[in-house]
Amino acid sequence: MDRQARSLQVLLLAGLVALVAFPFVGEKFYVQFITKVMIMAMFAMSLDLLVGYTGLVSLGHALPFGLAAYALMFVTPEYQAAGFWTSVAASMGVAAIASLVVGLLVLRTSGIYFIMVTLAFGQMAYYYVHDSKYLGGSDGKFIYVRPALELFGWKPFDLENHTHFYYVALALMVFVYVSLRVLLASPFGRVIVAIKENEHRLRMLGFATFRYKLVCFVLAGMLAGLAGWLAAAQDGLVNPEMLSWHQSGQLLMMVILGGMGTPAGPVLGAAALKVLELVFQGWTKHWQLLLGGFIVLSVLFMPRGLAQIFNWKRRG
């Protein structure tokens, strides 16, 4: 356990150093590519809180992500920048409210029904946005100016600069990672993990488990919202595809591929899927076939995900 924990720490530190150093040597295209990967990694970590730790397999996690992206579009004036904090608060707030409403309904179900109902809510939002003129319909809408942070005339960073954007995304990804570690070690976190293990017993110990699941669902939605805000800010564009079930499905794949319920698994999964996508696209137009094959093989041979590679020894 100690060796395992230490090797993970060393690995994470090495990864962090590499990420901090990358913009000094990498081309613009790759800096932007890794920014995208980090945003997806945050998004995947938020889903893993539900799937890997609480045992709630959601197929509608694109909902808070996409709504948060649209919220940024909504609060951005046409030719001006939205405020950094106000737009983050708007995006995460919308994601929280949507997750609360959806959570109150879907958390009454479990298992396969939970998957179906989360999917249904996701699709409802998708079609609503898709068919709404004021939201840009199927084409979506542009965000011409990225949010800006200004403290008494001082600008600590400029999101129009791709390197600055990269570091902001990196900082937020580290923030999400650390928040989840703290959360999972807290009394709340212990309850969440126990829900996956044996919810009935937990209730008999006196825990009102529904409440804990709901709070967890909202927290995961808010983190997905943060990722959605970043994604919209980076692309300068929102469209209904951000809300589609493909998005939710791909995300679930990242979590499973990386390793459910492991600290760094979702990050690995997001990176692996995005990098392979890029590589295979360079080889052939049938890249989906290669990607699918890779996923099948990795699930067959690494059922606990890529994180498995780094666990030389199992606990005990």
């Binding site: 703290v182 070690a185 009394p187 709340f188 126990a194 008999m204 110990l205 825990f207 009102a208 804990y212």
Partner: protein
């Protein structure tokens, strides 16, 4: 704890049919009866896992009939299971800490690590010590022996600091030595708790019980001191007769 006319139907079958019994702090009330007599259903009714079809349940002077299971637990009712029901991937200590954590005003605490709540740790350690599992704190539940897991089951229940204990066959599947240890533990617990014990092991029941109730087909056949029940003709015929001869 007191029940009156407790009844639970499954379809047309009355699994528990008009059961009235009482249980007081410092007394151990044992319930025996053949398989299918409705003993586990009775416990499920008392713990709130099942809602009664009729009748009422009173705990510590409060009517709790139909209350949600977690609310009943918070009032001070702890139960253990016939089939071991613990968090298999947690260590023995983590199991008890989680149980003890349920007595915090709320577990909606997000920042301080769960390991740093001193009063919770102490309650967990106390429960483990009481159940004589002190040397095994850091063993994952899945790797404990069957008997140890039964002890852990009781320890978790104790870590919630209950006043009423509902124990569903704590001796099930235990060897002679493990059984003796569990009987000792139950004897130690008796003075501080109102205990309802469902058990098949007659030696243990007669050694521990202050009051004995015999259930057959969901109904109470006889109830009283162990000596009186043993002497009861109906009980002799229906139940004990088979083993005594």
């Amino acid at each position: 704890m007191r029940t009156a006319g407790l009844r639970r139907l499954f379809g047309g079958l009355a699994a528990v049919n008009g059961v009235s019994l009482e249980c007081h702090v410092g007394r151990l009330h044992a319930v025996i009866g053949p398989n299918g007599a409705g003993k586990t259903t009775l416990i499920n009714l008392l713990s709130g896992e099942l809602a009664p079809s009729a009748g009422r349940i009173e705990i510590l002077g409060r009517e709790v009939t139909g209350l949600a299971a977690h609310r009943i637990s918070q009032l001070g009712v702890g139960r253990s299971y016939q089939l071991t029901n613990v968090f298999m991937r947690f260590t023995a200590f983590e199991n008890c800490r989680l149980a003890a954590q349920s007595r915090l005003a709320s577990s909606m605490r997000f920042l301080r690590p769960a390991t740093r709540y001193r009063e919770v740790n102490e309650a967990a350690a106390r429960a483990l010590a009481l159940a004589e599992l002190s040397g095994r704190e850091n063993t994952v539940a899945a790797e404990l022996s069957h008997g140890e897991r039964r002890q852990l089951e009781v320890a978790m229940t104790l870590a919630t600091r209950p006043k009423v204990l509902l124990l569903d066959e704590p001796l099930a599947g235990m060897g002679a030595e493990e059984s003796a240890r569990m009987v000792e533990l139950l004897r130690k617990l008796a003075p501080g708790h109102a205990m309802l014990l469902v058990e098949h092991d007659m030696d243990a029941v007669f050694a521990l019980a202050d009051t004995l109730t015999v259930m057959v087909d969901g109904a109470v056949l006889a109830s009283g001191t162990p000596a009186a029940v043993r002497a009861n003709d109906a009980v002799q015929r229906a139940y004990l007769g088979e083993t005594d001869d």
